[in-house]
């Protein structure tokens, strides 16, 4: 994060306003968010390399709470809870990251086209958006999973599609403000092709809402991927996955709470961290936008 924000630091003699990331970094909540998210990402990435066992190895009796050599006891099949916890994070991060990234990218394209072209293109795109928005996110995912079956690419696709209309709405609004600016009119006057105006003139000027949306969608993606795993409609056994771990071990919650508590705590910390970063970004974006208007 700090590495990226140096890009916006004033290298030219002209004094520039501090960029979005740098402004966001000034808020204490952003720092806390980065620390929390970083901690979970670290566990998820390094975890598989330091895990004491393999995730499918039987080490204890089912739901054994204090077994020798198993720090947090065993799970419903007697596999080491700590090992499965260390293994179970990267799938969640990967799926959530991919679906948020694809969804935000698709939403940005649709939003910019709808906002810039206006007229019937705008009408058609936004009506399709409204239909997509009519499905509660989770219900849409469940419907597709139940019919076609839980597959990894399908999880990513369904969540991305459900993000798209929400992102498109926000980016469309931002685009409509940008196209009033003189530099867009100037670009039109010198005859730049439309796709180039959208990519070179408009896109760089909607990055503030774009980053805020990315943070927001990432938080939601984590939630949806986790809840799908929890409902048994996400990754399938014997994968070690935090959502699935909660599903598998919730029957033993009274005797062996660790098998549920560890993944639950990780998901909670991760989502809170991601949302704190998003909050910092959106506060910074509001400040920057006000600066432009005045």
């Amino acid at each position: 994060m700090s590495g990226a924000s140096t890009n916006t630091s004033p290298k030219t003699p002209v004094r520039r306003r501090p960029g979005l990331l740098r402004t966001a970094w000034r808020f204490g909540r952003t720092k806390v968010g980065v620390a929390l998210t970083g901690l979970i990402v670290l566990i998820a990435v390094v975890g598989p390399f330091v895990a004491p066992y393999t995730p499918t190895e039987f080490v204890t009796k089912p739901f054994e709470a204090d077994a020798d050599g198993a720090l947090f006891g065993g799970d419903n099949r007697g596999r080491d809870v700590f090992t499965r916890f260390l293994w179970g994070g990267w799938t969640l991060l990967l799926l959530a990251g991919a679906s948020a990234g694809i969804g935000v990218a698709a939403g940005t394209v649709v939003g910019i086209i709808a906002g810039y072209r206006r007229g019937w293109v705008d009408d058609v795109l936004m009506r399709v958006n409204d239909v997509l928005l009519a499905f509660p996110q989770l219900i849409a995912a469940l419907l597709v999973m139940s019919i076609i079956g839980p597959k990894v690419w399908l999880i990513v696709a369904v969540i991305a599609v459900s993000h798209m209309p929400r992102v498109a709405r926000v980016i469309r609004e931002a685009t409509r403000k940008v196209i009033e600016q003189d530099y867009v009119k100037a670009a039109e006057a010198i005859g730049l092709p439309r796709w180039k105006i959208m990519a070179v003139e408009i896109l760089p000027n909607v990055t503030s809402p774009l980053l805020v949306e990315l943070g927001l969608r990432l938080t939601y993606s984590i939630g949806v991927v986790a809840v799908l795993g929890f409902l048994g409609m996400g990754l399938q056994p014997p994968t070690a996955d935090w959502g699935l771990m909660i599903n598998e071990n919730r029957q033993g919650i009274a005797v062996q709470p660790w098998a549920v508590a560890l993944p639950v705590a990780a998901i909670a910390v991760l989502t809170v961290g991601a949302n704190l970063i998003t909050d910092g970004l959106s506060r910074a974006a509001i400040g920057i936008d006000r600066g432009v208007e005045k």
Binding site: I139, L143, A226, I253, I267, T271, V272, N275
Partner: protein
């Protein structure tokens, strides 16, 4: 304003129709047809053929869709594969349970959220406000089923042991506590934030200043002058949160084994009970669209510019 609402209603109906199309199309993507699904893998060809005739599976897909839609409009949602009961009849009791659960959650969450939001606005930038702001941020980020599990870990049999963590038919009223509490906690944060933001805006307005300068008591200023002007946007958020409940209730019912529509949906998915899946998804999407429309209408009605424009 009436025209605007009629236009929204039209688009709502159009959306619902599109949803029905999606739901029907999704079931066409199933491997094997309905007859195969009902009779299972080891059905004899003769029985399959007979059932296909009975279900009109030889008709073109468009005709099948029209027949299905006709049934849905007339309240005939088909027969459940797994228990051979008419879907409408089977769903009656879960719908009642779910509505009660959602109603209780809304009843607990809304007044509390409004109060906390208003109080935060009055105590702006002081301890209570900061605490509430942090609390809503944390609660809003955590997925609702995680909130539910945290509550179970804390108050359930493994923790303080105050409430049962699983719903049982013969259990007492205390088993409603955790599901209702979880949903209320999931619904409240956006309402609190909206109430706070709107109240702050209203409290800074000139008519509130004027009311204060007249020497009215703080209570009169608050409840006669400030609060009514905050209702519009807040009511809209409350409606949106209720719409969210329609989908959010699924994971919570699954978690607590609560016998509502969400549990029915998960069981139906487990059994590949297509008519039941179709019915529940349509039902939830329908409620979602309807309440969203309501939120739209409230938003329009609460906006004086729109209300006065067409007079």
């Amino acid at each position: 304003m009436t025209r605007l609402i009629v236009v929204r209603l039209f688009f709502g109906a159009l959306t619902l129709w599109a949803v029905s199309l999606v739901v029907f199309a999704a079931t066409q993507a199933l491997p094997g047809d309905a007859a195969q699904l009902i009779l299972g893998r080891d059905a004899t060809p003769e029985r399959l053929a007979a059932l296909r005739d009975q279900l009109n599976l030889h008709e073109p897909v468009a005709v099948q869709y029209m027949q299905w839609l006709q049934g849905v409009v007339q309240g005939d949602l088909g027969t459940s594969f797994s228990n051979r009961m008419p879907v409408g009849e089977y769903l009656a009791s879960p719908i009642r349970s779910s509505l009660t659960l959602m109603g209780l959650a809304a009843l607990v969450a809304t007044p509390l959220a409004l109060f906390i939001g208003a109080f935060s606005a009055l105590r702006r930038d002081r301890g209570f406000d900061h605490g509430a702001s942090m609390g809503t941020l944390v609660l809003a980020s955590i997925p609702e089923f995680v909130v539910g599990i945290l509550l179970i870990l804390l108050l359930g049999p493994g923790g303080l042991g105050l409430f049962p963590s699983v719903y049982a038919r013969e259990g007492g009223p205390e088993q409603w506590t955790l599901p209702v509490l979880t949903l209320a906690l999931a619904v409240a944060p956006p309402i609190i934030r909206m109430m706070r933001a709107t109240m702050i805006e209203v409290l800074e307005s000139e008519y509130v200043q004027q009311a204060r300068l007249k020497g009215l008591s703080e209570r009169t200023v608050l409840w006669r002058h400030a609060a009514p002007n905050a209702i519009g946007p807040v009511a809209q958020v409350v409606a949106l949160q209720l719409a969210w409940l329609a989908g959010g209730v699924v994971a919570i019912e699954f978690l607590f084994n609560f016998p509502g529509v969400g549990k029915v949906l998960m069981d139906a998915i487990e059994n590949r009970d297509v008519p039941l899946i179709q019915a529940v998804v349509l039902l939830i999407a329908g409620i979602y669209i309807l309440v969203n429309l309501l939120a739209d209408a409230i938003g329009l009605a609460a906006n004086p510019k729109v209300r006065v424009a067409n007079r």
